[in-house]
């Protein structure tokens, strides 16, 4: 404020008058109508969101979030119920899992003995030859392997294909 008492009083009055006038003007304004008249889209287009976001201190924002409280509000049971576990497991690449994780070492340690290896080899060779003969028999008999039952109903679902994927008969084989 000015050191001169008279000037100072005028300044105070002017200040009071100005505040009053501004208050009256603002009160008389219809903000909604004003906003409606403005082109908000155009306004938003002019806003540089990237620049705006860059100015936001995300760390500070995250620090203010109470994660525990947030998690407590989540209904985990409902969430889990909505997850299709079967489909999830079906999508798992078990081969990669065994090869690339310690799971492979655990399996190798716990189950692999010489006898097991020998049996695996003998049985695998047997299955391979079984498939070979089955393929040729189906080819000769002009049978569609996918139409054949793969096993007794109580043991396998009827939809399972008779031969592994990629072991379909050649196109000339028809029912």
């Amino acid at each position: 404020m000015s050191p001169n008492p008279i000037t100072g009083r005028f300044e105070s009055m002017a200040q009071a008058v100005a505040e009053r006038v501004v208050a009256l003007v603002v009160a008389s304004l219809d903000v909604d109508a004003l906003v409606q008249r403005g082109d908000v889209d155009k306004l938003v287009q002019r806003v540089d969101v990237d620049k705006l976001v860059q100015r936001v201190d995300v760390d500070a924002l995250v620090e203010r979030v109470d994660v525990d409280k947030l998690v407590q509000r989540v209904d985990v049971d409902a969430l889990v119920e909505r997850v299709d576990v079967q489909r999830l497991v079906g999508e798992l690449d078990m081969d990669a899992l065994v090869e690339q994780t310690e799971l492979g070492a655990i399996i190798a340690k716990s189950t692999t003995g010489v006898a097991t290896e020998v049996l695996d080899v003998v049985r695998a060779q047997g299955v391979g030859l079984d498939d070979f003969f089955a393929r040729w028999t189906n080819r000769v008999l002009r049978r569609d392997p996918s139409a054949l039952p793969v096993g007794p109903g109580a043991l396998v679902p009827s939809t399972t294909p008779a031969l592994p994927p990629g072991r379909r008969p050649s196109p000339e084989v028809r029912r």
């Binding site: 090869e99 080899v121 047997g126 498939d131 109903g153 043991l155 592994p164």
Partner: protein, 175 residues
């Protein structure tokens, strides 16, 4: 040792109808095992008799008796093991199993009937086995007459995982 061919065991085969090769090899193994045990038993008996009486004992002079003992022994070997768990020693090696035609466990009656009618498939110039190769459910005469089927009981998928686990030493993953 030759690794397990991955393609042959790329998927689980438990409960699927077993093929002709696995069954033939299992039967061959059973014939070898049962004959080996029979000869071992005869040798043991001969040894025990010679110890007790000081005289040599042999069934060579009693061909009919020897044949009768052999038939009884083979009947016991197959019928007992099939009624017990659906598999003989040879079948256990090849990972296959006898089940009821609908997939349920085989009954004692079925095991006995199967053993009795099994020679029919052999006597008819092997015609009884042709069904294993060409029939939709891979069943031979003895299977159909006893109301049984032969399926894989071996978990091929587990074998493949064991094989994968052995392929590469697993290094801990660094993050």
């Amino acid at each position: 040792m030759e690794p397990v061919p991955p393609a042959a065991v790329a998927e689980g085969r438990q409960g699927h109808y077993a093929g002709a090769v696995s069954r033939l090899v299992a039967f061959g193994a059973d014939v070898g095992i049962s004959w080996g045990l029979y000869l071992l038993g005869l040798a043991g008996l001969s040894f025990a008799v010679s110890l007790a009486t000081g005289r040599t004992f042999s069934l060579d002079k009693y061909q009919l008796v020897a044949l009768g003992v052999l038939v009884a022994w083979e009947f016991t070997y197959f019928a007992y093991q099939w009624s017990l768990g659906g598999k003989t020693l040879g079948m256990a090696i090849l990972g296959i199993q006898v089940v009821d035609a609908d997939g349920s466990p085989v009954t004692t009656r079925q095991a006995v009937v199967r053993t009795v009618v099994f020679p029919l498939s052999v006597v008819a110039v092997g015609l009884g086995f042709v069904g294993i190769l060409v029939q939709r459910e891979r069943r031979g005469w003895h299977d159909r007459l006893s109301g049984t089927a032969v399926v894989y009981s071996w978990d091929a998928r587990a074998a493949r995982l064991r094989w994968l686990a052995k392929q590469e030493p697993v290094a801990p993953r660094s993050r």
